[in-house]
Amino acid sequence: MAYAHAAGAHDDLAAHDSHKPHGWRRWVYATNHKDIGTMYLIFAGLMFFIGGFLAMLIRLELFKPGLQFFDPLFFNSLTTMHALIMIFGAVMPAWTGLANWQIPMQVGAPDMALPRLNNFSFWILPFAFLLLLSTFFVPGGAPAGGWTMYPPLMLQGGAAFPMTIFAIHLMGASSILGSMNVIVTILNMRAPGMTLLRMPLFVWSWLITAYLLIAVMPVLAGAVTMLLTDHFFGTTFFTAAGGGDPVMFQHIFWFFGHPEVYILILPAFGIVSEIIPTFSRKPIFGYEAMVYAIASIAFLSFIVWAHHMFTVGMPLAGQLFFMLTTMLIAIPTGVKVFNWCATLWKGSITFEPPMLFALAFLFLFSIGGFSGVMLAIVPADFQYQDTYFVVAHFHYVLVPGTIFAIIGGVYYWLPKWTGKMYDQTLGKWHFWLSTIFVNVLFFPQHFLGLAGMPRRIPDYAVQFTDWNMVSSIGGFGFGLSQLLFPYLIWKCIKHGTPIGNRAWEGAHGLEWELPSPPPFHSWETPPSEAVLAHAAVH
């Protein structure tokens, strides 16, 4: 039955096939999953460089003590906008872009289930970010209350305040629509024989991520709408003077925020679970345990939120509960790391760029995991909370974690998308420069936090100078190294060497059964059982 629906969609699309859209219409009216995926990825790349530029301005001001470049309020705008752009503009659209490209190919479908919705969910984003970025030019400047938007501080915002909230509503709508599309595609468009437990782990990780998104984006929308009515319509949800509760915002925000951080990392687990088996030439170890581990992490993400706010003054029982649930996350995460290690064990390992990024993920994400366990220990968290130790922790899981997985995923599938092999030596340069500089950038921030440097400050006491300088040098090095990435992709498209279906010797999955580049409508006829068996990932 699932396929009958897919066939219907296919007929509809086949009608367009003879005149594949060209020019601007191909992109503005796009309904093809690959075109939309490409637009998502280009958009994410653009936002990555804008957000990265802001980060480099932050590191510029923090290079030495004293204020050399920016007013403190503008500095606060830089940290706030850096976070909003990187989370909602770079990472989330990058995941949706990869989902668009890969999921239909990996489940044996011709396209995403809801192509016009797909177009809409992408085209919301440029408007959302035009709105958000334009706040730099309005009276009062860009939002400066942190990406966490805690009231009452957030309520002091100027003209940027309603614009930021409206931009967040748009991003949320885009994410929810994109997630619905992913869920409907995975549940209805799989080729006959592609049972759920035969799906590649990237598809599994996205299925679970999509449910998380649908569950929590409306919660964020609710929280920011309450901020809006507090500011403009006289409500006092978060104002103590009117009987409201500023801490309630933090509870609602982090009920969204914790699943959100897993939304940023779960698809990374999926990609790493594709790359490591390919370059170990061995199926993933413990496939089902991997699926259950992702599902467990997703479930736990709903009951750990208050570990972001241990210093607000919670009852002892609450602190103990959130400490214990947070520590539990280490168990499924440990299972994943052990399974990746066991996949390497007795493999036949080679070190192409995607594998290098996946291995760096394995090491450096684990370091972020260790500092995460430390942060779960409430008494110790009273010391770590709101210091650079936290900044180091979440950047370790987000940069050499999520961002490396995205880069690894692009390096893994770029030959499939373009039909050409890129310059792998350049990719290795990109890897080594990124990996060295990312550690120079973030490792000293552990020291700064433990020594007592608070986060979100534009200037600092002079004893913090040395490690801040090191961190800034790492930041400039990391930022500049990323310029290799678009250059490598451009060079691949222009001058890459043509490649066959299976770009990597050990690659398994339905996408590698298609030609490179794949046809406009990926699987016009569903893959046969023989093809499915040949493509089996485990």
Partner: protein, 288 residues
């Protein structure tokens, strides 16, 4: 405790190796690498907990990273490694590596819970001070003694921290960490702070005391500390919750004095403030 003993030995070994790299001081620049044990019983408990969890993580890292690195060296295709494609599942080891972390986590959670219970024991405090964070400074109100004053960034730091001030921060003593009127407390006494915010959320933290607590408008949070009797001196910290433009410029300084010195100061200050209030022109009734 066994673990703590091992900790101190390992920590001593690590500390012994550090000076080989460069002449460093633990309280400055390159030497600022770790949390300090602090000057209260709670801060030392937290430090021990931090080091215990840290060394457990290091232990796990050695095993897991060792396993990864071994695999990456031993199973290289370039050295002729052939993949064992049948190795995809092993129920026994999967159960072990799911269950083993549970025990490690319990080993961390028990001392953590014990310390937390000690932290939350706010009974038998001897001195209560109300702390109000505002944009951008602190107000300290000695509730039982009629002493009340504001505490802001000192003038030397404030001049140097202006954009392009031309003043080198290294020439300013305790740049950004000194105030005009520090909080003065007695050593060896359990001091209770009642913390709140006047406008937005702030957070009060002295790293050497081990605890931080948010200052939230409409809420009164409790935090207590008892500085060791022999640890009189100046302790410095900062606001640690983003509170607007000058969040980075509202330091917290605590001057811990002996009980006798503190009592003398409190008496004099209370008398001064009483006199000042009496000689001031009749104030209009406060509206706030």
């Amino acid at each position: 405790m066994m673990i703590r003993y091992a900790n101190s030995k390992l920590a001593a070994a690590a500390a012994a190796l550090l000076p080989l790299a460069a002449p460093v001081r633990a309280d400055d620049g390159w030497g600022l690498l770790n949390m300090t044990p602090g000057v209260t019983d709670i801060s030392r408990k937290i430090y021990d907990l931090h080091m215990e969890v840290f060394w457990i993580c290091v232990g796990i890292a050695v095993v897991v990273f060792g396993w990864m690195i071994w695999s990456l060296i031993a199973f290289r295709k370039s050295k002729g490694a052939v993949a064992d494609t049948t190795l995809v599942h092993n129920t026994r080891v999967e159960i072990i590596w799911t269950a083993l972390p549970v025990f490690i986590l319990i080993a961390m959670a028990v001392p953590a819970a014990r310390t937390l219970v000690a932290i939350e024991d706010t009974r038998n405090t001897e001195l209560t001070i109300k702390v109000t964070g505002f944009q951008w400074g602190w107000n300290y109100d000695y509730l039982d003694d009629g002493v009340n004053f504001f505490s802001r960034l000192d003038r030397a730091s404030d001049a140097a921290r202006q954009l392009l001030s031309g003043i080198d921060p290294t020439t300013v003593p305790n740049y950004l960490l000194s105030v005009d009127h520090p909080l003065i407390v007695p050593a060896g006494v359990k001091v209770r702070l009642l913390i709140t915010g006047a406008d937005v959320i702030h957070s009060w933290w002295i790293p050497a005391f081990g605890l931080k607590k948010d200052a939230i408008p409409g809420f009164i949070n409790e935090l207590w500390f008892r500085v060791d009797p022999d640890k009189t001196g100046i302790y410095r910290g900062q606001c640690v919750e983003l509170c607007g433009r000058d969040h980075g410029f509202m330091p917290i300084v605590v001057d811990v004095r002996s009980k006798a010195d503190f009592s003398a100061w409190l008496k004099t200050t209370a008398a001064q403030q009483k006199q000042a209030a009496a000689s001031a022109p009749a104030a209009t009734p406060a509206t706030g």
